[in-house]
């Protein structure tokens, strides 16, 4: 078991494996995305009534919620790989963390953007200092900090480890930060706003939202692996690894 893992922890073994997986992930992205969008735009009611009256702009939910979820999940995964890299000193783990960060930052930005475009029609403002939004903004800063630190150091080995340490410190702080902006007054913390409740959602809306979430998740796999392959090539060829040449020779025809 452990042996197996470490075999794929070698970049040379991982590179072709990732190459084969990427197309699969692309199909897993495109098909649910199309289904989710079609369902979301044509199978759902034109207007929400009841206590939560919303007009067509509620359709932003189909991308807003998935991007928000992905942004948080990807940070956890990124910090996780960073920790693995620091503990086991595997090059591939650092590269993995490195490959996830830009995708995570993109999703965070999209959550902010789509949220803003939702907020304008429903709250009358693009931005408000709601705890959820604030926390998402801070998450964005953490991603940017990771990327900035990594690219400011040009010795890749040092950059990897420094950025990994930062990601872990960030991961420890994230719950504290989220909690502090959610609950700025510890005397009244019990009266936190009711969180949105998935079970109370209209079935069609929920279905589209979850399908698109799945699509975005697969999209993250695909882009991360693509970026990872580029990183592997860049670093291994810089280090003069011979497998790069043989592998590329095999692929060269395509």
């Amino acid at each position: 078991m452990a042996l197996n893992w470490f075999r794929f922890a070698a970049p040379s073994a991982f590179y072709p494996l990732a190459g084969r997986a990427i197309p699969i992930f692309w199909w897993l992205t495109v098909i649910p995305l199309v289904i989710g969008l079609v369902w979301g735009f044509f199978m759902t009611p034109d207007q929400l009534g009841g206590t939560n009256a919303q007009k067509e702009y509620y359709r932003i939910i189909f991308i807003h919620v998935p991007t928000a979820w992905m942004s948080m999940w990807l940070y956890v995964v990124m910090a996780g790989w960073a920790a693995v890299g620091l503990v086991f000193k595997t090059r591939l783990s650092f590269m993995m963390a490195n490959a996830i960060a830009p995708t995570g930052a993109v999703f965070t930005f999209l959550a902010l953007w789509t949220g803003a475009f939702w907020g304008r029609p429903s709250w009358g403002t693009y931005w408000d200092w709601d705890p959820r939004l604030t926390a998402e903004l801070i998450l964005f800063f953490l991603y940017i900090g990771y990327i900035a630190l990594h690219s400011a150091i040009d010795d890749t080995r040092r950059a990897d480890r420094a950025a990994a340490l930062l990601a872990i410190v960030g991961l420890v702080m994230v719950p504290v930060i989220f909690w502090s902006v959610n609950c700025p007054d510890p005397n009244q913390c019990a009266a936190l706003h009711q969180r949105s409740d998935l079970t109370r959602m209209e079935g069609n809306i929920l279905f589209s939202m979850l399908t698109i979430t799945f699509a975005f998740w697969m999209y993250s796999f695909a882009t991360t692996l693509m970026r990872l392959r580029s990183l592997i090539l860049e670093r291994e060829s810089a280090a003069g690894a011979s497998w790069v040449e043989t592998t590329l020779g095999k692929e060269g025809a395509s």
Binding site: D46, E56, Y57, R59, L110, W113, P121
Partner: protein, 56 residues
């Protein structure tokens, strides 16, 4: 069709949100492909150099 595009009068917001998502995701993919191509070109050049016996 017009009705679909206007999204009940909220076209700007709905398509603004979807549009930015589309732009960023596609841009990410294009950027990744562009990066991969430049790396392959560089490595190809290195390999050719090595095979034709040019010293680094």
């Amino acid at each position: 069709m017009i009705a679909f595009l206007s999204q009940g009068g909220y076209a700007f917001f709905v398509w603004g949100a979807y549009g930015m998502t589309l732009i960023l995701l596609v841009a990410e993919i294009l950027f990744l492909r562009y990066k991969r191509r430049t790396i392959l070109a560089r490595i190809g050049r290195l390999i050719r150099m090595r095979h034709s016996g040019v010293k680094q």
